[in-house]
């Protein structure tokens, strides 16, 4: 029996679980996919929002501002890349300028610091490549960028280092409660816990329904993105949003913490919670909108495009409540969900306390984690010291991103452990470069098979039946 079961290993579930391990609680995360960070966490804008966007008085506004303030220290504890690059909301006309002024006012009410209004002249000095027709901008100095799946993996990993259990491939199909004990079941396994935290993203309405809560629904909102080569990563320094207007929201143009340039997202409400396909129309829209906001985007340098599904709740605000004692919903965590996640985690712990659950401080809690990318940031001499101990760190597997066998093997052995090629990719950046795994995939498949002690033909791209190879040549005869 656990004290807490967290359903969903996204960035919210991960940070909630980690927060709970700060107390003397036994915690278990159950996740339907073969890895953590597989929902909205895997594919979003990777932005730490300053907090001028959410309507004053909402939970979104409160948790956004608080989360934004917490993010830098959480990232530094967890060894996650974070950069306070500031954001700009650009306007094209007088109407936009008025909107920007009202956003600044809202930001002040929400308690956001470092907001200012820029005329074009000043803006161009700050961002020489800003779109030719942009006339003004809101500058938010506390806007930042972070890698969302890295944050999630680090949070889950740190929670596990502090005793949390992670069950992958655990799709919750039933929840029963009897005498204050919840029985959470997949088709194969049941875990028991005193409390359940529902962090199931686009599925959080389905999970709530399992305990009879049908007070809200969650709908997936498709957002399509394009990622450009690192050559383009310094086209802008700030994250550049478009001022919301009758013409729609526009897209963002932003550097990523890894040095690429990210464009997107579109926003399209769909019904299928599994449909992460991109569309020709959506990608064309991203390209055209981004081109208005920033000059000189080289669309020939797109290295990949992807779709994320935001969990859009039916109430317009985050849905964080307790429909039943010991059961807490963290639902409808759409933008600014990533920013708010550290604050949501604290908020959930407070709710448990307020509900009378005993939360005693865990004195052995260690909240720090070595950065997953520590090796690449070492000096040549420091790297050579490590290579002397373990030559795997001198064997380059991914040529485009210079990722070594040592780093890949270390990632495979570090919690939460990847079991497929995409899992290795998200942890090490191998296959993420220009050739997109053309050269290194066959080697990663071999390393994974060796480390996991399975045949190479068992290795998948992303869990399930996503096999990389379907068999052997000459029909596998040996």
């Amino acid at each position: 029996m656990f004290d807490c079961v967290v359903i969903g290993a996204g960035v919210v579930g991960g940070l909630v679980a980690r927060e709970l391990t700060k107390y003397n609680l036994s915690v278990c995360i159950v996740e339907k996919d073969s890895d953590v960070a597989m929902g909205a966490t895997r594919a979003n804008s990777a932005i730490v929002h300053a907090g001028y966007d959410a309507k004053e008085g909402t939970l979104k506004a409160k948790l956004n501002v608080r989360g934004s303030e917490m993010m830098e220290s959480v990232c530094s504890e967890l060894g996650v890349k974070y950069r306070r690059n500031g954001s700009l909301v650009v306007g094209f006309n007088d109407e936009d300028a008025a909107t920007l002024h009202s956003l600044i006012e809202r930001g002040h009410k929400n308690g956001v610091k470092g907001l200012s209004f820029l005329e074009r002249e000043e803006l161009v000095r700050l961002e020489p490549n800003i779109g030719s027709t942009v006339s003004c901008a809101l500058r938010a100095e506390t806007g930042a960028i972070v890698c969302p799946y890295e944050l999630c993996m680090a949070a889950v990993g740190n929670a596990m280092d502090n005793g949390c259990e992670l069950k992958l491939g655990f799709r919750v199909e039933g929840i029963e409660e009897k005498d204050g004990v919840y029985r959470v079941s997949s088709s194969e396994e049941t875990v028991e816990a005193k409390t359940v935290i529902n962090c199931a993203g686009v599925y959080s309405d389905d999970i709530a329904a399992l305990v009879g809560d049908d007070s809200f629904s969650v709908r997936p909102r498709r957002g399509e993105y394009m990622l450009l080569d690192k050559e383009c990563g310094s086209l802008v320094g700030h994250t550049v949003f478009r001022c919301p207007s009758k013409m729609g929201k526009g897209v963002l143009v932003s550097p990523t913490v890894d040095g690429n340039l990210l464009l997107g997202p579109t926003a399209e409400d769909i019904d299928d919670k599994t449909d992460t396909s991109t569309t020709a129309d959506g990608l064309a829209r991203v390209a055209s909108l981004a081109g208005n906001q920033v000059n000189g985007i080289s669309f020939g340098k797109v290295i990949t495009s992807f779709t994320g599904l935001r969990a859009t709740g039916s109430t317009g605000d985050f849905i964080i409540n307790s429909p039943k004692r010991g059961f807490i919903n963290c639902a409808g965590i759409e933008s600014p969900g990533l920013t708010s996640a550290p604050a949501i985690a604290v908020y959930v712990a407070d709710m448990l306390k307020n509900d009378g659950f005993a939360l005693e401080k865990n004195d052995s809690f260690n909240g720090t984690r070595r950065p997953s990318h520590y090796f690449r940031e070492l000096s040549e001499d420091e790297k050579n010291e490590i290579i002397k101990q373990n030559p795997d760190y001198a064997q380059v597997i991914c040529r485009c991103e210079t990722v070594t066998a040592g780093e890949i093997i270390e990632a495979i052995r570090t919690n939460p452990k990847p079991t497929d090629v995409d899992g290795v990719k998200r942890r090490t950046r191998a296959t993420m470069g220009r050739c997109q795994g053309g050269f290194c995939t066959p080697y990663i498949v071999e390393i994974l098979a060796r480390e996991m002690g399975v045949p190479v033909t068992d290795i998948t791209k992303s869990g399930g039946r996503s096999y990389i190879n379907v068999g052997k040549t000459d029909k596998g005869k040996m």
């Binding site: 040549t473 000459d474 029909k475 005869k477 040996m478």
Partner: protein, 119 residues
């Protein structure tokens, strides 16, 4: 009466010449044109009488590794898949080297299956 003809792309070298073979009333080759070397003419005639191909593939060694192989000379085109079956049924020694024969005179074609890569 129309003269029957057949157009071919020469595969002898990377130039890929456009070849034309004309047949007489009895179906015999009357004229070959379009070639730019004698091998091209020979190819055109062979292609219309008894086409042949070199087959390249891999064989597995006893330790599971694969090495490349080829037919030592072209084999009848109609036998490509039969020869593949033979190639797929053989298991090579672990210490094979370029030039070693793994199947002699495969299916009586007069061609050997020889190793073309080192491990």
């Amino acid at each position: 009466m129309s003269i029957k003809e057949r157009k071919l792309t020469c595969i002898v070298c990377p130039k890929g010449c456009d070849l034309k073979v004309e047949f007489d009333a009895d179906g015999k080759i009357a004229e070959v044109s379009g070639f730019t070397c004698p091998r091209g003419k020979d190819y055109a005639i062979a292609e219309c009488t008894s086409p042949v191909r070199t087959v390249t593939s891999t064989v597995r060694c006893a330790d599971g590794a694969v090495v490349a192989v080829k037919t030592s000379k072209p084999i009848p085109k109609s036998m490509i898949f039969d020869v593949m079956m033979e190639i797929n049924s053989v298991l090579a020694d672990n210490n094979v080297k370029i030039g070693d024969v793994v199947i002699a005179n495969v299916l009586g074609t007069g061609a050997d299956i020889i190793i073309t890569s080192n491990k």
